[in-house]
Symmetry: C2
Subunit: 391 residues, 2 copies
């Protein structure tokens, strides 16, 4: 049971200063005069601006990192007070929504002012990114400022956000501990005869009662012989003896996610299910052992894939065996055979070996770890070595 | 107390057929050979594909609407089983993540096959939209297929999604009833002496216990003389007598939102707060009376703004006095002085008159209504005419 007090909310101003200075150092190496950010995680990472108001797709929000000094916010007026409460000093607003010019000329003017008439402007344009503004407005902005001035800045935010600070790790560890407690308690509040929907709702409420802020992600399923899809929502199907149930949760504390699953046998554990569980458990062990600084993502993938194939597991078709974790449910890097990212101290990753078995069934096992100097430190409480049973 | 059974989950295939045929009729008028969609709400609207897996930014997902026949899904393999369970028949997959070509050539080939060598392809590119894929990949797709072949299709999805079916309205009404019950019960479970964070956590849990699936949006605050920002998260400040507290909730049932707030006086209601409450209450009454088919969004705005200015309220600086509501917390139209959208039977909108008062304080009142032939039907239970007090 997690009895530690929750970590302090937010971050010291020093942390935002450090993040900004590190970004500016990389911008300098890429000869960027400014970096433009538009998504929730990007804006929050450098500003501390933290609100679920991003749920509303109506208004774009921008943060501009100059080559020196504090970031500049260019945002709708409705967010001015909330942004003013962060470490950001310069907040430029327009009265959004204003579809004819929803911040575009204000942003273009600010870009030209900050980056000069011909300075390069970085925007994350690569894998796992998107630009959160209407494409017509993005095209207009690029035409106004000069299409060729915009270059891809994915490598900057990727390199920086992959390595977590101790304050970030504390938040992830805290929500992992909450979810570990909840999974451990689950057999006491979920029964055979519940519907999947009831079982999942109980876990969602339990997570909140234990101190999670929110549970944006909770998927899984149940079925005889295993489950077929690992990204589905619960249904009205009734949990019955001899089946297996899987729940995969992304709960949040102070804007940081956990992401791991647990499997449960209902009533008893059929042999085929137990064998599959043993394989993914063993593959996870291999992943934990291989998660050391200096190893590549692909090495970590291979360590788990080797166990899976040695035990005759077929491909689970999820495309990778883990990923980065932090402000988003999934972040860079990907644990695949082609990802050459070198693991560094402070990276947080999921290890989630997955195997196909039986009649189109899939078994996934998952833990969250932080890379330390001596190797992986578990943030989740290690799943039981034997498949737990709900009676 | 809401005692109706929850609406049936999902939609009949007939509803997806109708949505697709209506889209294809508009595509025909705009001479589009296909329409390409990439965001959660767009893909779900035409396919029924419903999973929180969109929380993961790693993989893009696409739905293509041809000029006739069923939509075609072009998605990562991890979603194949989930998509196959919808009414969609043709599901093309690639093994994402695959950063070098994350669906781009598969999508380009499918576009050329479906739209022919020179057919126009609609993408929502306008207000309140974005394209959910890396910009570098979007640029590459446009270059591969032909930049000039892509045209803005915002008006199609906007016109269509603004008018809700009865099945959609039922889901919104259900979650509005759940949140109405929770707000009514709130004085029984929140006390003076709670922190904001405790009060908000209690409400989130209460909403889930009453049958909400999730509460992606819950913001507000408290303070002496009122609150200053209406999009903030709760803090550790302790609720004290003589203050006002506001909670604004976007709870979800089966993928449809409510979006409304309630204000509470703590201990007693100071005169200035009561007067502000009376003004926004009266403005909401004017909005309800004006929400009739044939009126424009701007008329609805004006009806509320007239009451606010007649009572001497200053601008609350949120840019509009309401908006559409459905699969997203905020949707088209905007209740502003420039939005000329004509209200139609079946549209669901929020009415949220907002006023500035006192020392930089803001008071917002909010109801959700559906436009019926005879005028507005409340989906939320009307807030009390007098500011409720928590003791």
């Amino acid at each position: 049971m997690n009895r530690r007090p929750p970590p302090v909310r937010g971050f010291d101003t020093a942390e935002f200063e450090t993040r900004t200075v590190i970004a500016q150092g990389m911008m300098d190496r890429f000869a960027l005069s400014a970096m433009l950010l538009s998504t929730e995680a990007e804006v929050r990472y450098y500003s501390g601006f933290h609100t679920p108001f991003w749920q509303s797709p109506t208004r774009p929000w921008f943060l501009l990192i100059p080559c020196q000094g504090k970031p500049i916010a260019i945002i709708p007026g409705i967010g001015a007070a909330c942004m003013a409460a962060t470490w950001i000093e310069e907040v430029r607003t327009w009265p959004a929504p204003q579809p004819d010019d929803d911040g575009v000329t204000l942003l273009a003017d600010t870009l030209n002012e900050v980056a000069g008439a011909d300075g390069k402007i970085g925007i994350p344009m690569g894998h796992e990114t998107h630009v959160r503004m209407p494409v017509a407005d993005l095209d207009r902005l690029r035409a106004l400022v000069g299409v060729d001035r915009f270059v891809d800045a994915t490598s900057i935010v990727r390199a920086q956000r992959m390595v977590k600070s101790e304050a970030e790790i504390e938040k992830i560890a805290h929500v992992c501990a909450i979810a570990s407690d909840s999974f451990e308690a689950l057999p006491s509040f979920v029964q055979i005869g519940d519907t999947e929907r009831q079982a999942f709702a109980k876990m969602r409420i339990d997570l909140l009662q234990r101190g999670a802020d929110d549970v944006p992600y909770l998927v899984g399923g149940s079925g005889p012989g295993g489950i077929a899809s690992i990204i589905e929502q619960p249904t009205n199907r009734v949990l019955s003896s001899g089946e297996v149930m899987m729940l995969d949760t992304g709960a949040v504390f102070d804007g940081y996610f956990c992401d791991f699953d647990r499997n449960f046998a209902l009533g008893y554990a059929p042999d085929e299910i137990r064998r599959a569980y043993d394989v993914v458990y063993a593959a996870t062990e291999a992943g934990i052992a291989a998660a050391i600084p200096g190893a590549r993502s692909a090495d970590l993938f291979q360590a788990m894939a080797d166990v899976l194939s040695a035990k005759g597991a077929s491909d689970g078709d999820i495309g990778r065996l883990g990923h980065g974790l932090g402000m988003q449910l999934t972040e860079w890097p990907s644990l695949t055979n082609f990802d050459t990212t070198v693991l560094e101290v402070g990276m947080v990753v999921t290890l989630e070996p997955c195997m196909g078995f039986g009649d189109g069934k899939t078994m996934v096992h998952e833990e969250n770890v932080v890379i330390r100097e001596n190797g992986a430190e578990l943030l989740t409480r290690r799943a039981p070595a034997e498949l737990p049973v709900i009676h």
